[in-house]
Symmetry: C2
Amino acid sequence: MSGPTPLRVAIAGLGTVGAGTVRLLASDPARLALRAGRPIELRAVSARDRGRDRGLALDGCRWVEDARELAFADDVDVVVELIGGADGIARELAAAALRRGKAVVTANKAMLARHGAELAALADEAAVPLAFEAAVAGGIPIVKSLREGLSGDAVQRVFGILNGTCNYILTVMRETGRDFADVLEEAQQLGYAEADPSFDVDGIDAAHKLALLAAIAFGGRPGFDAIHIEGIRHVSALDIEFAEELGYRIKLLGVARLTPSGLEQRLHPAMVRKDAPIARVDGVFNAVGVLADPVGLVMHEGRGAGAGPTASAVVADLVDIARGIRLPTFGVPSSALVDHPAAPMAAHEGCYYIRLMVLDQPGVLADVAAILRDQHVSIEALIQRARNPNQPVPIVLTSHQTTEAAMTAALTAIEALPTVIEPPRMIRIEPN
Amino acid sequence: MSGPTPLRVAIAGLGTVGAGTVRLLASDPARLALRAGRPIELRAVSARDRGRDRGLALDGCRWVEDARELAFADDVDVVVELIGGADGIARELAAAALRRGKAVVTANKAMLARHGAELAALADEAAVPLAFEAAVAGGIPIVKSLREGLSGDAVQRVFGILNGTCNYILTVMRETGRDFADVLEEAQQLGYAEADPSFDVDGIDAAHKLALLAAIAFGGRPGFDAIHIEGIRHVSALDIEFAEELGYRIKLLGVARLTPSGLEQRLHPAMVRKDAPIARVDGVFNAVGVLADPVGLVMHEGRGAGAGPTASAVVADLVDIARGIRLPTFGVPSSALVDHPAAPMAAHEGCYYIRLMVLDQPGVLADVAAILRDQHVSIEALIQRARNPNQPVPIVLTSHQTTEAAMTAALTAIEALPTVIEPPRMIRIEPN
């Protein structure tokens, strides 16, 4: 008697995640087959350096020199793309595999954030799944939760801590009072940050993930270019200290919501109240919150990166595919994905934290207060540190709800004051 | 041109959740059809009191007097069972519907905790889904997360705050210092607790949910009778105060894990470190943590009850069914569900909090310490309050890791001491 047909898998890319996936598939195949309804078998792999010893048992598994060949392999049902990069081989491979009627599983947030709609259309045409749980917040099954678990809900807001490196740096800065550059250097030595940290600390990586979450949440084409992105390089130890004093934590937050002026997608350092669930997500952990109707707020928290968590997501996608589950990539058919107009940041409404470095002279505060009043910005709290006539002193204030346009205008005017000796620092305050 | 075939739904039970589901299905049918791939149409309902005005638009929808008839309705693909109760009409309806090849969606944790394996077998035989996202932690898509999102992982431990009423009471007790009876009465007046609160405060409701989580996590038949259950009636304001002093919060926790002596399933008040994510889940919120390999710890948090969150779960299940998703009820075929032997509580290993009320006489502490030493229980911390020779005083201690058997023997001996004037209070301490 022959058993059920196995699901035949090829993996392109044997870096940390690829190797982790190979190991997880091999760790308990019987348990996996029970969950998947049939065996999941690794048939082929491709990676740049065949000679490198990865400690993987790849017996009975073909080695393919050019990953793109996997799209044409007759003995493969699913191509797992773990090469990375928005374009190049990854994109060629994914598109070719989908066109050939093969399912694709990918952890490639950059590719999907930029070409997701186009690839989703190819998947729909071929009636095969394009799965990407591993692309967003690693071990947190947030794609599934948002796309399927909350499919009955109307999402109002999706937000999250989407980059573990940044969260680690901000956490250490808060705990030790040290400065960004110092903590980044240590993180690089510990392997928590890349030699070129730009992708992480400038917010690009997190913004890719935000584009995907927003696409699912609001049934839109992923729109990476429309995201307002600020990284964490300018977060200072001083601002973290003031945040604590005011009852806030500073997190690099991605936020997407539909507003009357369009889809707002922002990725920037934000102050969140200390008692908010997301404020307590520290270190390399990621978290994603979904505020939706009628479910209310649902929070998810877990490891966002690393071999284990990401392999867990890849394999869960493979189990789904083995089970015959095929959903539209972003939850609705690609032909129905909306091109949401981007809400301009000037239209953003919220509360703000501002820190000014001023010369301690009479009338400074009066000047600042007058400028804010002229922009109809009302002050919620104000901290002025110990006076020191010969040194610049910080003035910190938080605003009530206002528009980004008003705040920007006010900051431009404030910066022009002769007593204000540095560009003002502004950090948006997020509601819980 | 005719559109796609609608999914035809019947709802049995129009209480809070049933009415919420009817409303959600009617709120934005076009969006739902886009997510579901086809329209979801309500064809029939059944509830006890037809005359009652529920404010629902039920035009074009048949009213069926006996809910069990819905199992035989030719114009119905899915029966949504929201009647409740482990046996009786709910169970008859679910079994009959599955036998007739109809999908079943249910929020009935009692029924599934007791008869889940048998109903899962009926679902497998008929090759139809039996879905129950609404039965566990309402709005949190934890069934999906555990069964599908973490299908590649080996679960080590699943634990959670599974009853909002208890969590609300414990939260108010901590915040106000008031006693259980007092806060319960207020919760009843506010509608957060039932007139007969036993189901909630004695842990039955949460234990039902734990049985279902454990079944999915460990591929076992739901085993409600094997769960060790303690409610929160005996949690005192004094213990909450000492917990705070020791750096803990008291939560009603459900915990399931596979141990060398079998499946451990416990539902009892537990102390968790204040900085643990689960410690900060307050009020009516639920939370479920899954510790698994290789993903690590994944936390989920959201509203556990109420019309909106529960309807959200019911409708998400309906969307899955409309999409043709059919998974084995507990993640593996019912024929493969294991009958895990129950680990005896005596074999449980952990740390303990103990509070004794003693007469303040010389030698009391020596007697207590000697008993603990004889049971090889080592003390981690000890608090003895201000001395008062004429009044009983509390002695509080926490233990290092020990077995429940040793702790029980020690407590029996301690209770027999003439200077110990109340039965000792014991609360287990959970690791993060």
